[in-house]
């Protein structure tokens, strides 16, 4: 900073590299000596932090039944207990478990002849005269009945399971996030499903069969550090019923509890203690699902026939309607990126257009006749400044925002360190590439007002139309694939799980493109604009 521009060129450096270094320093000097631009970048960081904290730090969570229907507790006292799985992710782990311990290696085999269910609210024939008179018959797409080998009955423990599902056939799932499809089709007495899990050390292998003689291996799960004695048995569970009506700019609908009942026979266990008794356990029965299973008979064993009923899910937690508790994500605190982006784009466009307005461009190009290098140096300097600005703002907004959320009783879905780094650095990179894009458009248009408006409109407006519910979902998702706004996918911290029924829309924080793919779209636009700017800068008189 203090070296200034008067330092003579150091001898001994190779000429080409030396002059490019000088060019970079010249552009850096131009940037740092215009007070308005430096202030603009500081404003960008400030609005990013302030809007991020304001928008996300204002949830008012109340809980507990106080007098007169008002919540007795609020704030941090309401922070829900959410179990985390072996990978550190927040999970839902509620199911009915008919189990016995299994020491060492062994396997379990069952036949399932039926999977039925009930759910609350909405259409369908109600069940008259039963304890479930407010519920209707019907199965959810991811209702589950099957067999499971779990490290313990604690929520969030490692497991591998083979199951039949409501409408996704047989599946092998393990450790909450893994899902492998097995035999297709629904289960019935006429077409039962045979399932088998075999444990050998840390490895659990799942098999399925339609007749109990010809078996197919579905998948293998590696559960690192699996206890010597595990819990093995039958499971039944059913995630929230969701009846959603998609409409212009979102979806409305009912979400309610559901129950699933599986009917098992030919249950055989090898490797365990012979003749061990089965016990029923409502895993996770302290949460909202427990109240459903308390109303029904959850486990009946008659002869060789087991009937098991459960409610809940064994799955990663997500945001949106499928989430059991109100959740926030780390990127909720980055909503100020838009305001920061606008300030960065203004500065970046002016970084180029001011040269034209003042006539400085003629001096610049006389000093460096290789015009492409001038453009490259400008893009590099403003990109770097924008990156640092964005990184500082994101690294301040996210940790403080998470603390604020916790203080208000809002549960923030945990992410791995790698994901958090990707979200923070990605936000910074998004601002950097947008700044380069603005320099390129500024070079092409040479007018600051038009350049600023063009860049802001192509990046921010598609996001508004796609996310803030001003366009229908289909059209909005296409905008978020094709426009530079696709880059905001880099801020999405929670993956989309096919084995969890949810509303995966931009409004709920799920982008149609993968994080880096979306970012690449913006990079593509910036590269195209830089190419056009390079061409025009060389062709036109300054």
């Amino acid at each position: 900073m203090s070296t200034g521009t008067l330092t003579p060129r150091r001898p001994g450096l190779r000429r080409g590299r030396d002059s490019y270094w000088q060019l970079l320093r010249a552009e850096w000097t131009k940037f740092r000596t215009v007070r308005g631009w430096v202030i603009g970048m500081i404003v960008a960081a400030l609005v990013m932090v302030l809007i991020g904290l304001f928008a996300a730090g204002s949830a008012h969570i109340g809980c507990g039944g106080g007098p007169g229907n008002s919540p007795a507790l609020s704030g941090a006292a309401c922070l829900p207990h959410v179990p985390t799985g072996p990978g550190g992710e927040a999970v839902t782990d509620s199911f009915y478990f008919v189990r016995q311990p299994l020491a060492g290696n062994g396997s379990i085999t069952v036949r399932i002849t039926a999977l039925t269910g009930q759910y609350g609210g909405g259409g369908g024939p109600a069940i008259p005269g039963s304890a479930l008179s407010d519920m209707h018959r019907g199965i959810q797409p991811w209702s589950k009945a099957g067999i499971i080998i779990a490290d313990s009955t604690k929520q969030g423990s490692a497991y591998a399971a083979m199951m039949v599902t409501g409408s996704h056939g047989v599946a092998m799932q393990d450790d909450y996030t893994q899902d492998i499809a097995g035999l297709p089709g629904t289960v019935s007495a006429a077409s039962p499903r045979w399932l088998r899990l075999t444990r050998s050390g840390d490895t659990v292998t799942g098999y399925d069969s339609a007749d109990g003689t010809g078996w197919t291996r579905v998948g293998t799960a590696h559960l690192a550090g699996l206890s010597a004695t595990v819990q093995v048995g039958l499971l039944a569970t059913s995630p929230s019923y969701m009846h959603l009506t998609p409409f212009f700019g979102g979806s409305s609908g009912q979400v309610g509890p559901s129950l699933a009942t599986g009917v098992f026979d030919h249950v055989s266990l090898s490797g365990g203690r012979p003749g061990g008794a089965w016990t029923g356990d409502n895993v996770g029965n302290s949460d909202a699902y427990g109240s459903q299973t308390s109303r029904v008979e959850t486990f009946r064993q008659a002869g060789g026939r087991f009937t098991v009923t459960g409610s809940g899910d064994i799955a990663p937690d997500v945001t949106g309607p499928a989430s059991g508790v109100p959740t926030a994500t780390i990127e909720n605190h980055l909503v100020g990126t838009f305001a920061g982006l606008i300030a960065v784009v203004v500065v970046a466009a002016m970084f180029m257009t001011a040269e034209y307005r003042r006539g400085l461009i003629r001096t610049t190009l006389a000093a460096t006749p290789r015009r492409g290098r001038v453009l490259a140096a400008k893009a590099f300097v403003i990109g770097l400044v924008a990156f640092v600005t964005g990184l500082v703002a994101a690294a301040v907004a996210v940790p403080i925002g998470i603390r604020l959320d916790r203080g208000e009783g809002q549960y923030v879905l945990p992410v791995t360190l790698l994901t958090e780094v990707r979200v923070l650095a990605g936000t910074a990179a998004l601002l950097a590439v947008a700044a380069v894009f603005a320099v390129a458009v500024g070079t092409m248009l040479r007018r600051s007002a038009a350049a600023v408006a063009a860049v802001i409109v192509v990046i921010v407006l598609p996001y508004i139309l796609g996310v803030a519910g001003l366009l229908p979902e289909g059209a909005g998702e296409w905008l978020l694939r094709l426009s530079p706004a696709a880059a905001f996918a880099i801020q999405q911290s929670m993956p989309q799980y096919p084995q969890v029924a949810n509303v995966y829309t931009p409004a709920n924080g799920y982008f149609p493109l993968a994080p880096w793919a979306g970012f690449a779209v913006l990079c593509g636009y910036a590269a195209l604009a830089l190419g056009a700017a390079f061409f025009l800068l060389r062709r036109r008189d300054a």
Binding site: F248, A449, A450, V457, A468, L470
Partner: protein, 290 residues
């Protein structure tokens, strides 16, 4: 970014020689002259005409695109406000209107023309008023074409996408009261955006900063509001009192009870923003050296 203040301007006389004045039928001729001068400035450069044409064309194109991209498949309830959908392009067109209105004043600062203008018309508020009248008038014309074209596109495209009369979607028509209100209101919306932009640009003088500020005021609040589902109280405040959210309620023709603010009140909120920006800009214009 402001230039060094021109010291001599501070002592410039605030009115022309009194002798020349007396011969004219005071007031109106002055105002006519100022208007005419501003009209000449707008008319004789290519920019404003292109920007006005672009406003109309881009608004219609985006509206038609939104209508074409929206389908109502058979058997699904589609609670779509077809009038509002057909006017989606306003959200894009307003950005071009903002450029036009910002340049109307900031280009004078970037070329130094403002010193000539204020020497010729020392009553600075008259200059701003003339610019406001002309820019909003031109935007009203372009906006009328933009809105008319958008509604026509919607009327032609939407029935083919399942929004048929038999399913309760009458073809868009200005004879329908709420649709007429939405159409007229959208034209007024664009004019108010022009006034807001002119006020902001007069205050900050630099075109890039002005455009950034205006687009920030318009586009950031809807995103913040959408992210605040956890706090309905603040969400309501943002939706009811920020320029774009409040102003665009004028486009709603269905579900009026669910609106954060009634359509005309919403447009009134935007008018308040525009007035505040113009007053701030006018005051700064009077108080500062040019």
């Amino acid at each position: 970014m402001s230039r060094a203040p021109a010291a001599h301007m501070r002592h410039a006389p605030r009115a022309g020689p009194a002798g020349m004045r007396r011969a004219l039928p005071a007031g109106w001729a002055d105002r006519r002259g100022t208007l005419h001068a501003e009209w000449t400035k707008l008319r004789t450069v290519a920019g404003p005409a292109w920007l006005l044409a672009a406003t109309a064309a881009a608004t219609v194109a985006v509206s038609a695109g939104a209508a074409a991209g929206t389908r109502c498949p058979a058997g699904i309830a589609c609670p779509v406000d077809t009038t509002k959908l057909s006017l989606t392009g306003i959200e894009f067109g307003q950005a071009i209107v903002a450029i036009l209105a910002v340049l109307a004043i900031s280009s004078e600062y970037s070329t130094g023309m403002i010193r000539t203008t204020l020497t010729a018309t020392p009553r600075r508020s008259a200059v701003l008023a003339a610019k406001a009248a002309l820019v909003s008038g031109l935007v009203l014309v372009a906006g009328t074409i933009a809105v008319g074209g958008s509604l026509l596109a919607g009327r032609l495209i939407l029935p083919g996408n399942g929004f048929t009369a038999s399913r309760g979607f009458a073809p868009l028509s200005l004879a329908h009261g709420p649709t007429l209100r939405a159409a007229a209101g959208s034209v007024l919306y664009l004019a108010l955006i022009a006034l807001l932009s002119l006020g902001v640009a007069t205050a900050v003088r630099d075109s890039a900063v002005a455009v950034g500020t205006v687009l920030g005021l318009l586009y950031v609040f809807p995103i913040v509001a959408a992210s605040m589902a956890g706090d309905p109280r603040w969400q309501h405040r943002i939706e009811a009192y920020t320029p774009m959210n409040a102003g665009l309620t004028i486009q709603a023709t269905t579900g009026l009870h669910g609106l954060p603010i009634s359509p005309w009140e919403g447009l009134g909120v935007l008018a308040g923003w525009a007035a505040a920006a113009l007053i701030a800009g006018g005051l700064l214009l009077r108080l500062r050296d040019a």
